[in-house]
Amino acid sequence: MSDAKMSSGLSRRMFMTASVSAAAVMPLVNSPTRAAQPAPAKPGEPRDLSAVSMRINKQTYNLALDNRTSLLDALRDHVGLTGTKKGCDHGQCGACTVLIDGKRVLSCLSFAVMNQGREITTVEGLASTGGDLHPVQQAFIDHDAFQCGYCTPGQIMSAIGCINEGHAGSEDDIREYMSGNLCRCAAYPNIVAAIVQARDEIRRA
């Protein structure tokens, strides 16, 4: 025990910031219509805000974000879409899964600035404007594929990705390709049953 320095609390995010030297201030929640302009960098404040334009659930958002801001934090803290959940911030639990250009991505492992011009779909963007649920959402209700519901948005987005990828052919495939999404309540058998139902319904459609 010779090392008396703080060593706990080291995270991916902190590791990233180790190569940069100062932080910047940013607006909290940006409106989807108003374009936010990055504040000019002041002397001694080398870390710039970046202007990012993203399509989220078919709306355009113009954001000014710290370059270190993850897509997950951008969605939750800057756009106000909190349906996407943070469970680990390390890409280990799947709770933050969203679709980017139709493919499932862990939003905690993606910098917001990397998603310029991309089409992002979150759980809030699945149901039709008339309120009809996506077949995966309905199947999750039918099969009680959640208890606390916290991992559920990520499970649903991942399930849509899984079906789209063609990885929902068998129950064994579903189990394998859904294993990046942890469910601590352990609704796994119900999640598999839900995805089978939704897969068949999507195929019929």
């Binding site: 025990m1 008396a4 320095k5 703080m6 706990s8 609390g9 080291l10 995270s11 995010r13 910031t17 932080a23 201030v25 940013m26 404040e45 870390r47 710290d66 801001t69 934090d73 939750r76 106000g80 909190t82 349906g83 943070k86 469970g87 680990c88 911030d89 390390h90 280990q92 979150t122 759980v123 809030e124 699945l126 649920l133 959402q137 209700i141 039918d142 099969h143 009680d144 959640f146 208890q147 606390c148 519901g149 916290y150 991992c151 559920t152 649903i156 189990r175 394998e176 294993s179 990046g180 999404n181 942890l182 601590r184 309540c185 352990a186 609704a187 796994y188 058998p189 119900n190 999640i191």
Partner: protein
């Protein structure tokens, strides 16, 4: 067939869809860290990197220089507050910022508050501490730990259970086993991160934080901050998994509240996964020695259970699961002793079936060993030792359907096809093993209040300060009201998770269904009484009908003889628009001050083995098949069958899901979960979800839950036994027994990993 919605059997409620299902699949269920808060500042914790000693100096200059940093709360800044208390409401007596003593690794040394999350995290990492460092004691085998008898150290564990003359019976026993077992450190790791959001409006404080005990926290936080409890509100409408971790309030809550007051802005602190391992509670490691003696005919004559549990230096946290193991079978004689071992660790806390999970694991493993030693079928062995009365106090069981559970589960599993010879059921490259074990959980209840309102158009609102941690309590409280008031579930709304609501006990100990439903039932029955009196009154729609013969169905008051009156007409006759009743439920045996304590945030538990009239437990039987690859020793669990009897089942859907999830927890306990501790530094090593293994989807295949009908009028007015913590008891022993059956290797230390099975 939809397995998620089992057809109800006798004394079982409909598999009603969760009342909040739509909110949860659309991302609209707001967990505490989801509340959009204007002008919120972000908090990040800095934690100690030693486990024992003192902080001699804290260096915060670099952190303060990070652009966007607003404040740093550290030593001295909490001096005007009272230290946390250890107990039912508080996780630990350690006030990390009240003095500079370090009691465990990962103890809070500062909270940084900044304009952005990124700035807060960056600054927290730049905080440096100098320490007066002492060598810590990590666990059982470390130098410097302090051991003491556990009995009497906790109000929950008053004495070591014993019965008869164990020493004589042990000496006389013809078949004996004397074995040691252990269970590892485990962390709850709900997927929702721990968080606190503190908002001050004048002297009113609102805390958004996932909580299993909003009323208790309100009172305890008010005490720490020296506020009137009426000025503190804890809001926690949805909780992203709890498993006990959100029962006790930790020191962080008051620290975040102080930070918010200092900067005059709301503060949100979401604790990262790694820091949660040291700043929250956990299941401490346990050790067991079991001595069991039996006659050749399979009757147990002596049962000895000694156990050791780890806790922190200052707090005597004890689970003492011998109170359950000592009452499991007809032992003849019983001797138990539990010891607490104080080490330089954070204080442990409740984790799903706190006493039963580790203790019953040891007992049930020993039961299997004894069955093998006797050359007896393990189910038969349990049948032979089924007690008529519980062996310690000689009280009857309020109900005990264990053998029914064994019969139904073994049939469904196909236990009769099991060849008991070790390694005899090979399937190609896979060694097949089958094992079974008993699940047990005490049935308790605590005082609870609820308010129910029924309007003339049949809308029902239920209000109760209980907590929806994923159990389905919101749904079944609604079901109880819908049933008693004769309306459809679409007419029912349920408000929970707010200390401004009528108080409910801590959502722990599997007491919520019994406590909440009993209170809701009482409020509904008061409404029924008023309605019936009005409906049958002079000139009323059902004038002349006796009260007792009336019921509510489909928004009508109905008589036995088939007459009916629309709810709206009865309300019209009463000249009121809504009926609202506030009810308080207190379980039988409650002290005169039990209800008063409810409002003071204290939950007085009744039931289990502590009642005068009977002992109250729920039981189950679990059967597991394991497959072990003969080359790689990979262990798979292709199927598990559990049969459970828990009195009235309110909703077969939510009950099945909870028991299924519990059994999967049991598989995780058997094969995956363990927090590894660096014994040199008393530091948790695998502090994330990559290295702290929990079952994933691919680990689980077939899970069958059988709900065995059981009627028990003694337990509580609702006739309900809790089952949230039943499913994961015994599972690990069933897996260990199956592993033994497949390989001949008896693994007594959890978890069972591939390396345990390599020759």
């Amino acid at each position: 067939m939809n397995q998620a919605a089992p057809t109800p059997k006798e004394n079982q409620g409909d598999p009603v869809v969760r009342i909040d299902a739509r909110l949860k699949v659309t991302g609209q269920a707001d967990y505490p860290a989801d509340i959009v808060t204007a002008n919120v500042a972000y908090g990040a914790l800095a934690t100690s990197s030693i486990a024992r000693g003192k902080v001699s100096e804290l260096h915060t200059r670099d952190a303060r220089a990070v652009p966007g940093v607003l404040d740093i709360v550290s030593y001295g800044d909490m001096d005007k507050t009272d230290k946390p208390k250890f107990g039912n409401t508080g996780a630990s007596s350690i006030g990390p910022l009240h003095d500079k003593t370090v009691f465990h690794d990962g103890q809070i040394v500062a909270l940084v508050v900044a304009e952005t999350f990124e700035a807060a995290e960056e600054a927290a990492m730049l905080i440096r501490a100098d320490y007066e460092n002492e060598r810590p004691s990590a666990s059982f085998d470390s130098k410097g730990v302090k051991m003491e008898p556990a009995a009497g150290k906790s109000p929950m564990f008053k004495e070591d259970a014993k019965a008869g003359d164990f020493d004589a019976a042990w000496a006389d026993a013809t078949v004996k086993i004397d074995e040691k077992y252990s269970t590892p450190t485990q962390h709850h790791n709900p997927i929702e991160l721990f968080s606190t959001t503190a908002i001050w409006q004048g002297d009113q404080l609102t805390i958004h934080e996932p909580s299993q005990n909003v009323t208790g926290w309100k009172v305890e936080l008010a005490r720490q901050l020296k506020l009137d409890p009426a000025n503190v509100r804890i809001v926690s409408p949805y909780i992203g998994g709890a498993f006990g971790s959100k029962g006790p309030m930790t020191a962080r809550t008051a620290i975040v509240a102080v930070a918010a007051r200092r900067i005059g802005r709301p503060v949100r602190c979401v604790v990262n996964r790694m820091q949660a391992f040291g700043t929250q509670t956990y299941r401490a490691e346990t050790r067991h020695r079991i001595r069991m003696g039996a006659r050749k005919d399979g009757r147990i004559t002596a049962f000895g259970h000694e156990a050791w549990e780890v806790t922190s230096r200052p707090d005597p946290y004890v689970v003492g699961g011998t109170s359950a193991t000592a009452r499991m079978y007809d032992y003849g004689s019983v001797l138990t002793h539990v010891s607490l071992v104080h080490a330089d660790r954070n204080t442990p806390g409740y984790m799903r079936s706190p006493p039963e999970t580790p203790y019953v694991y040891a007992l049930e493993n020993a039961m299997d060993e004894m069955a093998v030693a006797l050359g007896m079928d393990p189910v038969e062995f349990r049948r032979i030792n089924e007690p008529e009365k519980e062996p310690i106090g000689g009280k009857p069981f309020s109900s005990r359907s264990l053998i029914k559970c064994y019969d139904q589960a073994s049939d469904a599993f196909g236990w009769s096809k099991r060849d008991p010879r070790i390694g005899s059921m090979r399937d190609g490259d896979w060694l097949v093993g089958m094992g079974c074990a008993t699940a047990i959980y005490p049935t308790a209840a605590a005082p609870c209040a609820a308010r129910v309102r029924l309007t003339a158009d049949g809308e029902v609102r239920v209000q109760c300060g209980s907590h929806e941690i994923g159990t389905g309590i919101r749904t079944i409280a609604g079901q109880m009201a819908a049933e008693r008031l004769g309306v459809g579930m679409d007419k029912v709304s349920v408000e929970m998770g707010d200390s401004a609501l009528p108080p409910a006990p801590v959502s722990g100990g599997s007491i919520s269904t019994a406590s909440v439903c009993s209170a809701v039932m009482k409020a509904c029955d008061a409404i029924r009484e008023k309605l019936f009196a009005a409906a049958a009154g002079r000139g009323a729609p059902l004038a002349g009908s006796g009260n007792a013969k009336l019921d509510l169905k489909d928004e009508e008051v109905v008589t036995e003889t088939g007459k009916s009156a629309k709810l709206a007409d009865v309300f019209k006759a009463m000249q009121v628009g809504a009926l609202e009743e506030y009810a308080e439920f207190a379980p039988k045996g409650s002290s005169p001050e039990a209800l008063g304590k409810l409002y003071a945030g204290q939950s007085e538990f009744h039931g289990g083995e502590n009642d005068e009239d009977s002992v109250k437990y729920a039981f189950g039987a679990e059967f597991v098949e394991v497959r072990i690859n003969s080359y790689t020793r990979e262990i798979r669990v292709p199927r598990i069958v559990g049969a459970f009897a828990a009195g009235r089942i309110m909703n077969t859907r939510t009950a099945r899901s909870q028991l299924m999830g519990g059994m999967i927890w049991g598989i995780g306990q058997a094969l995956h979960e363990a927090t590894e501790t660096d014994q040199r530094y008393a530091r948790y090593v695998n502090r994330d979800l990559q290295d702290y293994l929990v079952p994933v989807n691919a680990d689980i295949k077939q899970v069958d839950v059988i709900l065995v009908p059981e009627i028990d009028h003694q337990v509580n007015p609702a006739g309900v036994k809790g089952l949230g913590e039943l499913g994961n008891v015994g599972t690990a022993a069933a897996v260990a027994s199956a592993v033994y059956h497949a390989t001949g290797k008896r693994i007594r230390d959890l978890p069972i990993r591939i390396d345990d099975l390599i020759d």
